[in-house]
């Protein structure tokens, strides 16, 4: 601390604080409650609501001050709960009640300070003129879109000339700080629901509950500090002073002898299959979005809701969207049948709603999976064998009005069905990530036709790749469920460890070798080698191969004009003999 700290006494408790804070903050640190309406940590104190009034004594002089903007000083004696203070607060609340008595915040405050019957009546004006919004707009958003207009009883918060503001950046900071809800953002409810799939929508948030490291992350594109240079509320409030706006993205170089590639998958975007109406019909969602909805840590707190905030009475789950489909992916995504069953179970348990499963084949192959399927059949989920063909909005005015109609062919009953439901969940395919190609190139891997990374051998080397020391785990190799992923991850890790613990590696016997007697020193091979394994010995005037760098591709062998390089295990003699052999 640069300046000397000061000692003061609040309600008989002594505290030592830095000299540049106000009484209110010092009291907060002691856990002493002082009511306030116009104070917001991070914004300049205003001292306008007067609710934080306390009694300060210096020597014999005792007076009432607003604690939010009264600086601390050495030897100050503060009393927050004397009869004089209580009376002052009661009168202040009564005066506030005259205009705003019916507003929730004022009502609760009145109860807290013991005002049961305000003498001057109870008004219902929501804006208490605390000025938080004006300060937020100025200090946080740097927009200065709103301010106070007029004087005395006519004073209001408004935009200049009461016209639509040109400087407002729609950040919502004013609504966020408003204690009474007098300012609100139109359509905010809808906005939040739209972002369900995106997770937490504050500019600073922990990305997911399972995030590693489990710390908040700043989204510089959404953060007011980065867009306006203002705000900084998070830094003001962080007791650990952990927020660093100067932090930059860093590329960290790690030296590693082995690599486990576990880059995962992405889900199929069903908006390309237009018949399902994803992106067009509001209550058609993907399985991952449903997962967010039903997650207790999700935006709805685990409540399964329609776009309008009401729970659905019926849900259709459409299997195999994008998988087992000639148009998109021919493979089975392997996990969808089981999570769809889980969804059905959750909908049943949480809402008691009717659940339809539209499937091609139920694939419940794992341990305990078939039993779970049996349980769902008993729970009363409705299984229709036939892929959902189309989702359309119900005809307005008819019996299906406001619903989604799922059309399908029930191949067991041999009939076409129209199923009106409230919500449609698309069980979308797992597909290879769009950047799998770059990762493939980076590690010199191979990919199978479906785009997933190819293992060296499906049975004998299921986690190895064609590149030594690079292993595969999880859905980057093929769609798989969690138990399989964990098993494969363990296998990949132990393969990597077995290389690391050995501390040395065995080189393949196949490598190139230069015969110095034949080498003319032309250095053609030097340029050709992709691993720079061949160097030229200027003294002896011949090239030589570094055996530990050589990967035995044989490019130099084929190119050597004097035939001086021998590719062990693939020598010229061997290959020529092979040619003779296959043509015998």
């Amino acid at each position: 601390m640069a300046d000397k700290s000061v000692k003061l006494t609040i309600d008989g408790k002594e505290i030592e604080v830095e000299p540049d804070i106000y009484i209110l903050e010092a009291a907060e640190r002691l856990g002493i409650w002082i009511p306030t309406l116009c104070n917001y940590r991070g914004l300049t104190p205003f001292g306008v609501c007067r609710m934080c009034t306390v009694e300060v004594a210096r020597g014999t002089r005792v007076r009432l001050v607003t604690s939010c903007n009264h600086p601390v000083s050495d030897g100050l004696v503060v009393r927050t709960n004397t009869e004089r203070v209580r009376t002052a607060r009661r009168i202040l609340v009564e005066l506030l009640c005259a205009r705003h008595g019916k507003v929730g915040v004022i009502k609760r405050l009145a109860e807290n300070v013991g005002v049961t019957k305000p003498r001057f009546g109870e008004g219902d004006e929501p804006c208490i003129l605390c000025g938080l919004c004006v300060r937020a707009c100025d200090e946080m958003a740097k927009a200065n879109a709103i301010g106070f207009a007029q004087r005395g009883t006519d004073k209001i918060v408004t935009t200049p000339y009461h016209e639509e503001s040109e400087t407002c950046i729609n950040c919502g900071a004013c609504a966020k700080v408003c204690p009474t809800g007098a300012i609100y953002i139109e359509g905010a409810q809808e906005l939040r629901h739209d972002e369900l799939a995106l997770g937490p929508n504050a500019a600073i948030a922990v990305p997911t509950m399972q995030a590693v490291p489990n710390v908040p992350r700043l989204d510089a594109d959404a953060c007011l500090h980065f867009t306006t240079g203002g705000c900084g509320i998070c830094a003001t409030n962080c007791p650990a002073k952990a927020i660093d706006y100067e932090m930059q993205d860093k590329e960290i170089e790690v030296k590693a002898g082995t690599v486990v590639v576990a880059t995962g998958f992405q889900v199929f975007d069903p908006s390309v299959a237009e018949q399902y109406g994803y992106g067009r019909l509001p209550n058609v969602i993907t399985s991952l979005e449903f997962e967010r909805l039903s997650n207790a840590a999700g935006p709805t707190g685990g409540k399964i809701l329609l776009r309008n905030g009401t729970p659905p009475a019926s849900v259709a789950i459409l299997h195999c969207i994008g998988s087992r489909d000639e148009h998109y992916h021919r493979y089975c995504s392997r996990v969808c049948c089981m999570y769809s069953l889980k969804f059905a179970h959750l909908v049943h348990e949480k809402l008691g709603a009717r659940v339809y499963q539209l499937y091609i084949d139920m694939r419940t192959f794992g341990k305990g999976y078939e039993e779970f399927y049996d349980r769902l059949l008993k729970e009363g989920a409705l299984f229709i064998r036939g892929k959902g063909a189309e989702v359309t909005p119900g005809v307005p005015g008819g019996a299906e009005a406001g619903k989604l109609v799922v059309k399908c062919e029930d191949t067991l009953a041999g009939v076409q069905r129209r199923i009106p439901v409230d919500m449609v969940v698309l069980s979308v395919a797992l597909e290879a990530r769009s950047d799998a190609r770059e990762v493939e190139r980076l590690f010199n891997l191979c990919r199978s036709e479906d785009g997933f990374f190819l293992e060296q051998h499906p049975k004998l080397a299921p986690v190895e790749t064609t590149t030594d020391g690079v292993f595969l785990a999880g859905c980057c190799q093929s769609p798989k469920d969690i138990p399989d992923t964990v098993a494969q991850g363990g296998a990949a890790a132990s393969q990597a460890l077995s290389l690391i613990l050995r501390g040395e590696t065995t080189l393949s016997g196949a490598c190139a070798e230069v015969n110095p007697d034949l080498c003319s020193g032309c250095r053609v091979c030097n340029e050709l080698c992709p691993y720079s394994a061949i160097s030229y010995d200027a003294e002896k005037k011949v090239s030589a191969v570094n055996e530990s760098l050589c990967k035995a591709c044989g490019t130099c062998v084929a190119a050597c004009p004097s035939g001086a390089i021998k590719g062990k295990h693939f020598t010229k003699e061997q290959i020529l003999a092979e040619i003779e052999g296959v043509l015998r």
Binding site: T555, F570, L576, V582
Partner: protein
């Protein structure tokens, strides 16, 4: 040309892509003509033009050289070297009176079993149509065959 001519094709397949692709064709039980006789090399970049000529001299009616797709080479750029060498081989084949269609360079990745099968089928039928390779056209067959002998 007799109808039941079965050409012999020698294939040089790189270990990482094309050979694995051929292996996949086998494990997927795909059917393709048995005319291809495969020689595995670590990289298509190992294939010397002399190997191609040697194979033709020893009685092959066609030669297939197959490697990883450009940019996918296990050895980063071996297949680019092959591409250049095969282009240079073309005029040489002309000089010997060998149809260029008998020597073919293809990119077949480890997952392209179907493509491998297609290439073999197509090449077999094309060489069937060309007929057996006759070096030096009857009267001076031997001398040219001699010339083709690799050093």
């Amino acid at each position: 040309m007799s109808q039941d001519f079965e050409p012999v094709i020698v294939g040089f397949l790189c270990n990482w892509c094309s050979y694995t692709g051929a292996d996949l064709a086998g494990t997927s039980r795909s059917r393709y003509p048995p005319n291809l006789r495969i020689i595995r090399v670590m990289c298509s970049g190992r294939v010397e033009p002399a190997f191609v000529l040697k194979a033709l001299r020893e009685g092959a009616d066609g030669v297939l050289v197959a490697g990883c797709h450009p940019g996918d080479c296990h050895y980063q750029e071996g297949n680019y070297k092959t591409m250049r060498r095969m282009a240079l081989l073309g005029p040489l084949l002309d000089q010997f009176g060998i149809e260029r269609a008998r020597v073919r360079l293809e990119w077949i990745s480890a997952s392209e079993a179907g493509r491998f099968v297609e290439v073999v089928k197509e090449m077999t039928s094309r060489i069937k149509a060309l007929g057996p390779l006759r070096l030096g056209h009857a009267q001076d067959a031997e001398p040219i065959a001699e010339k083709l002998a690799p050093a």
